[in-house]
């Protein structure tokens, strides 16, 4: 009896982002709204972070609500049916259940049931991790279309008196559909992690410590100077490497879309990359705040909707944050 020929996935050569969707928190929170508990002011916050307002979700608007809204927009704009989605990847650090995943519920809510669905915990790098995974799934033939969502309701995990990070944070969700392409649309991803700085962006305590009464409700905190140095000078190297492996020169970019951490990180990173003035730098943080995994798709969506960049141009996207985790890739704008 002859050995049967095993079927394997048939690969496809290229992938691209078909579309984006966005949902932001329903509340506009001003600097004056957050300045009191940290003994600060509108001027101080603007100067040090660039933020004028951040969007936060009211009690009745959940992380899942925002993820569904963003996903539905992306699916509609991609011109596909939700049943065609072959995998759902949800990057988030604020899904309030250890298990089950946010992605399985999202897949069901958007009509993609029974698509495989899993969450990614890579904080502010999560969306770019998701795009790397989606690119691999599509080109390997595992899935035809992949939904990638970066979404956060960070306002559930902040301490109003914390001066390190809480006042920067906002809520929102961004979604992308990735699928097969006739031409290259997503470069190789330069990604990694550095657990030697595991606590540079962290929680004030674990859930077990909270259960045992040893800590207050755990909230986000960061070592600002350590993070700033890493986010600018190490990430400048990562971004440069991403351009190199993509075979793209800085002047060929339409946009730089970094994680929207702090305007001074964004501007210093752009300065280190010596980008020409023709490259549009995403500064969605000014009105949205820092939304962790959601910030890159939200910022890219805003650039496209406002007409600041055009579909078909190249954007360097780079996420970096807790872990420390990072990922950068060049994509063709949908």
């Amino acid at each position: 009896m002859s050995q049967p020929t095993l079927a394997q996935y048939q690969t496809t050569k290229y992938s691209r982002i078909y579309s984006l969707g966005a949902a932001r928190g329903d509340l506009i929170v001003t600097n004056d709204d957050v300045a009191g508990p940290i003994d600060s002011s509108d001027e101080w916050i603007r100067q040090r972070t660039g933020i004028i307002t951040r969007r936060r979700a009211s009690e009745n608007l959940s992380l899942m609500d925002m993820a569904v809204e963003a996903s539905n927009e992306a699916i509609r704009k991609a011109g596909i049916a939700p049943q065609e989605i072959g995998a759902v990847i949800f990057a988030t650090i604020t899904h309030p259940f250890q298990t089950p995943s946010a992605s399985a519920l999202l897949a069901d809510k958007i009509g993609a049931n029974p698509a495989p669905a899993y969450d990614i915990s890579a904080a502010c790098a999560g969306y770019c991790y998701g795009i790397a995974q989606a690119d691999a799934l599509v080109r390997s033939g595992v899935a035809k279309y992949v939904l990638v969502v970066g979404g956060e309701k960070l306002s559930d995990f902040i301490n109003p008196t914390d001066r390190s990070i809480s006042f920067l944070l906002g809520d929102g969700a961004g979604a992308a559909i990735v699928g097969p392409s006739d031409t290259p649309g997503i470069s190789p991803t330069v990604w990694g992690s550095d657990g030697s700085h595991w606590d540079a962006v962290s929680m004030t305590g674990s859930l077990l410590e909270f259960r045992d009464g040893k800590t207050e409700w755990p909230t986000l905190q960061q070592e600002g100077q350590t993070v700033f140095r890493w986010a600018v000078w190490e990430m400048a190297k990562t971004a440069a490497k991403a351009l190199e492996v993509a075979g793209v020169k800085a002047e060929e970019l339409s946009a730089l879309v970094t994680h929207q951490a702090n305007i001074r990180i964004i501007d210093e990173l752009a300065k280190q990359l010596k980008l020409p003035e023709s490259v549009v730098i995403a500064r969605d943080i000014i009105n949205t705040g820092n939304t962790s995994a959601a910030s890159i798709p939200l910022a890219m969506h805003e650039l496209l909707e406002s007409g600041a960049v055009k579909s078909g141009g190249l954007a360097l996207e780079i996420g970096f944050g807790a872990g420390l985790a990072f990922a950068a890739q060049v994509v063709v704008l949908p």
Binding site: R48, Q225, F228, R229, V232, E268
Partner: protein, 82 residues
């Protein structure tokens, strides 16, 4: 050849001026970066990284919090030059 304290101070003052616009001659050894020069933590880190480049020294993150005055930074750089 290792630079003198005065040479490091002059070089550091130039970096501070580039980052913040503070006049170089206002950057004196006894001045506190935060309290006298109103330099915040992010500007301080930019100054530190530029000082590392300029003087060829390593200034670890955990050391930065000890650099309260300009003199602290100058002395650290002078001794780190070996």
């Amino acid at each position: 050849m290792a630079l003198s304290q005065a040479e490091v101070l002059a070089g550091l003052a130039e970096i501070v001026n580039d980052e913040t616009g503070i006049a170089a001659d206002a950057v004196q050894l006894d001045k506190s970066f935060q309290d006298d020069l109103d330099i915040d933590s992010i500007s301080m880190m930019t100054i530190v990284v530029n000082a590392e480049d300029k003087f060829g020294v390593k200034i670890p993150d955990e050391e930065v919090k000890n650099l309260v005055t300009v003199g602290d930074a100058v002395n650290f750089i002078v001794s780190a030059q070996g």
